[in-house]
Symmetry: C2
Subunit: 335 residues, 2 copies
């Protein structure tokens, strides 16, 4: 993630504020970099663009693989740009230890939206950790806002971890579903349904229309089983066809209605305030880990104890304490 030919602070800030997509991309890469020298500038870039950020609607889009997230985002994004919006698409990829996700990684996806000048698509960096990606995805979002994008779509796949991370950075969380799934499916997605602001049955087209309508009714009934949300919003269940572009206008209207209501009852700003606090916490955790494992004293002590930790001969609890003591300066020298 080395950032080559770094620009100056002013060039980054001005370029982003001018909506220069090339510089926007380079600024996001800079922010994602773990090089201390990059981070120093990245911080200042973020301070520079901060006053110009925050003015978008941030929408999280999730759903199981195969539900059609990319096609939905492409069609939905297209409708929004036609309405005069500027749409940025970011991805949060959980990058599981076992498999490497391909979310937005496939260059051939979202071709239609990607070629539109009113849209900006940023694929997820490959191989990043969840913590890193989600911490930096927020910075990417602010950079896009400063560059003039007023709708941010954040795509994530359904493994739980990433969804909770995305829920923590968006204003509206949309769950895409498929018709034809039974009670078990609802059980599995319970955690996700609880954090969703709307459920949309995708692929409601052709011979699937009837099933979609039934599923809509079924899910709407199921939602009654959940406790009311603190913001008073009752998550609607909608159907749409991303391919035939039906139902998409209604989804946008729903999001707009949501924003209006939440602005009135104060939840909109409350939610963002809370998100900024947990964002701070995430950044602290991220920085701590970077510094901890790069610290020379820690590295040396780790080299000494890891062989015995591996064999189970040293107590993990005691050694963790010792290492944190060393890092925070409570134990100055180790014999």
């Amino acid at each position: 993630m080395l950032t080559k030919n770094r620009l100056s602070l002013t060039e980054y800030v001005k370029g982003v504020l001018d909506g220069d997509r090339m510089i926007l991309s380079r600024a996001i890469t800079l922010v994602e970099s773990s090089l201390p020298s990059d981070q120093l500038i990245a911080e200042k870039v973020m301070e520079g663009i901060l006053p110009y950020s925050g003015k978008s609607i941030r929408i999280g889009v999730t759903g199981v693989p195969g539900v059609g997230k990319s096609t939905f985002i492409e069609s939905f994004g297209k409708i929004l740009v036609e309405k005069g919006h500027k749409v940025a698409v970011l991805a949060v990829d959980p990058s599981s230890q076992q498999s490497h996700g391909s979310i937005l990684g496939d260059k051939t996806r979202m071709e239609n939206l990607a070629s539109d000048k009113r849209a900006y698509i940023r694929p997820s960096p490959a191989g990043s950790t969840l913590g890193g990606v989600s911490a930096r995805t927020r910075e990417g979002m602010l950079l896009c806002e400063a560059a003039g994008f007023d709708v941010i779509l954040i795509e994530t796949v359904g493994v739980g971890q990433s969804e909770i991370a995305v829920k923590g950075m968006v204003d509206f969380f949309l769950l895409l579903m498929l018709a034809g799934a039974g009670d078990e499916l609802q059980g599995i997605k319970k955690g996700i349904i609880e954090i969703s602001d709307a459920m949309v049955i995708n692929k409601a087209d052709g011979s699937n229309q009837e099933a979609a309508k039934n599923a809509r009714r079924e899910y709407a009934n199921a939602l009654h089983l959940f406790p009311a949300k603190e913001n008073g919003w009752i998550p609607p269940v909608k159907t749409c066809s991303s391919i035939y572009q039906t139902g998409l206008e209604e989804i946008w209207e729903m999001v707009v209605t949501y924003k209006q209501k939440m602005l009135v009852n104060g939840y909109w700003e409350d939610n963002r305030s809370r998100q900024r606090i947990s964002w701070l916490h995430e950044n602290i955790r991220y920085l701590f880990e970077q510094r901890f494992f790069q610290n020379e004293k820690i590295k040396n002590r780790m080299d000494q104890i890891l062989p015995e930790i591996r064999l189970g001969k040293l107590s993990v609890m005691a050694k963790a304490k010792e290492l944190v003591d060393i890092f925070t300066g409570q134990i100055k020298d180790i014999e």
Copy 2:
């Protein structure tokens, strides 16, 4: 989580090694406590019991709500104690922000196993964070091992986050499923299927037997789509009835076979070694957060900046760095 009437270090260690269930419970409570004075003894207790830990088979059990995890664990545990094993059951509860899980919290559950002297059931502490619970669940596991339990069953519910945590602390990860679920279900559980060492279709009884057999075949076919595991193990798909206690013996035999094969090819110890390293990392993270947010300088600075962070007027990235600098002593005094 205040530990009242604390015992002496020797009393804790001797009590646990004697298999005294009351003291085992108190030792687990001590280890879960976030009080610095408790942690000091807890660390020493862990060092004292360490040489007597590690000799169990650690099995993670997961599945969607309604799949019958508790009934399975009760029946499976009962069969194991009849074979002469001593079985401990621990729970990892993701305690989602929105809902409070009830995993093992209901006292009326697992009555049959709970009343058996050869078994020990430890409910999940309510309201704990995921990080805390999973970090301390490992310590609880070692304490149970030192107390003579040779099979540890760790129950978790399916929201992704907790499953990955549990996978990181067990030798064998078992996924319970239900018959009658289609392709979408498989899609959702993809991440979990990938980390499972076996899939068991539960409730294969009565009129459900045929469906269970079909599901078994379907899942067995689906598993061929996944890449081979590094340890050479091909996850079997089994059926069982927890209520009629059929198929449970086969599941135990499968676990024993797994252990034998993994001992031979070296994966058993490799896996545990890796787990101990990530356990160390988790403990470091956990300790750091505790100390960070209890630090007076941090608290003071937080009080100063949080109002403006909430309003989005200060850069999160810059302030996170400043706070970590203060904590690690790079900035001694703040004006």
